[in-house]
Symmetry: C3
Subunit: 141 residues, 3 copies
C-alpha cells in the first residue's frame, strides 16, 4: 500500500514553523494505515525539516537564534556570496538540520511523542514557496 | 512483513550511551528478515539517536563535550528558560543529532559497519525514561 | 520488490564530493520502480552523506570550511587523539551531518529537487575506500 504526493508550502518568513497540521491535512489517507511509515523530503537545499517541541513558541525561536549565531552571515571565509548574504549560511543550516523526516505510522497516524511536532525550517529571508514529497507505505486494515 | 514495538529505556545520565545490544535484544524477530529496514524514533525532543564508533569510550565522551561547548547553557539569548538551564540547549542538540535512525537489514541483522554502534544521546541532566518506537519491514526467508 | 547492494567509493580527499551519478549508476534497476524509496547508509563513523546544491562548486567548499571552524582539530578538550588530529573532529562532523539518506523514488528515479545532489562528506585526511549499503523497496510497473 503506497501513497505519494507533492505538497507545496506557501512562502514563510525566515524562522522555524510548526507544520504538523498542514502535513497531515494534506494526507487524509494516512488514517487507513494500520502500520507503516511516512517520509517527507523537502526539495530544496536552503530549508529543512525537523521534529521539535510543539508546546512553547520560544522553543521555535531559540534554535533559530542559535543557528544564526553558529552559522553567521558575512563570515570572511564564505566564497559563495553571489546569491545574497543569507544564502550560504542557509545551505549549511539545511545540511545540519537535514532535508527529510521518516516517521512511523501506527493505527492511522504518526506515532509521535506527546510534545513532538513537525517543523519547517526556512533559512532564507525570502525563500518563496517550498515543495515537499510525502510518501507513505505500509499495511491497511 | 511488518513489526512495530515500543521500547522503553531506563533513565540515564546526561551523555552518549551505547544501546545497540539493548535495541537488538528487544527485537529478536529481526533474525527472520532476509532483507528489510529497521527504523527507530525517539519520542522526545531533548534526546536523540545517532551512530558512532563503538570501540573507544572516549569517542562517546568527546562529542558530548563538543555539544556542551557549541550549545552552551546560560547563553544570554535563550528565551525558553523556565524548564531549567539544561532544557533549551537540549532541544537544539536534539535537532542537530536527529530523532531517528533508519538502518538496512541484511540476513537477519542491521548491516552496520564493523565500528558502528547505535547511541542514545541524553541531553538533559535528569531526562527520565525514554520511549522509542521501533519499526521493521521487509521480506522473510 | 526489494534491491540491496554494497557500493564501494574509491578513496577521496577530505572534503565534500558530489556522488549522485556514481550512486545512480550503481543501481540501474531503480528505473523499474514506479513508486518506492531508496536508502543509503555509509558504514563508517568518520564520513557522512548529505543533500546539498549541485550547481556551484563553492557550495561544496563552504560547508567544509564551516565544519573545520566549528569542530576544530587540536582543541584542548579532545581526549581521543591516538588515531590522529583529524580523527575525533571527523566523528563529531559525521554525527552532525548524519550517516544515511532516505529518498523517495518516483517513476524510476529519486524525486530530488532541481538543485539537489547527493554528497559524500569525507572528514578524514586519508579515509581510504568507503562502503555504502544501498537498499531500494517499492512497487514496479
Amino acid at each position: 500500500m503506497w501513497l505519494q504526493r507533492r505538497i507545496t508550502f506557501e512562502p514563510r518568513p525566515r524562522g522555524i514553523h510548526l507544520v504538523t497540521g498542514e502535513v497531515l491535512g494534506a494526507m487524509p489517507e494516512l488514517s487507513g494505515f494500520r502500520v507503516g511509515m511516512l517520509h517527507l523530503l523537502i526539495q530544496h537545499t536552503s530549508a529543512s525539516l525537523t521534529l521539535n517541541e510543539n508546546a512553547s513558541p520560544e522553543v521555535r525561536a531559540d534554535p533559530a537564534t542559535w543557528l544564526d549565531r553558529a552559522v553567521p552571515e558575512g563570515a570572511h571565509d564564505w566564497t559563495h556570496t553571489l546569491e545574497g548574504e543569507d544564502d550560504m549560511p542557509a545551505h549549511v543550516k539545511a545540511a545540519l538540520m537535514g532535508p527529510s523526516l521518516t516517521l512511523p505510522l501506527s493505527h492511522g497516524r504518526p506515532a509521535l511523542g506527546t510534545w513532538q511536532g513537525i517543523y519547517l525550517c526556512e533559512h532564507r529571508d525570502h525563500g518563496g514557496p517550498r515543495s515537499l514529497v510525502a510518501t507513505a507505505w505500509g499495511e491497511g486494515g
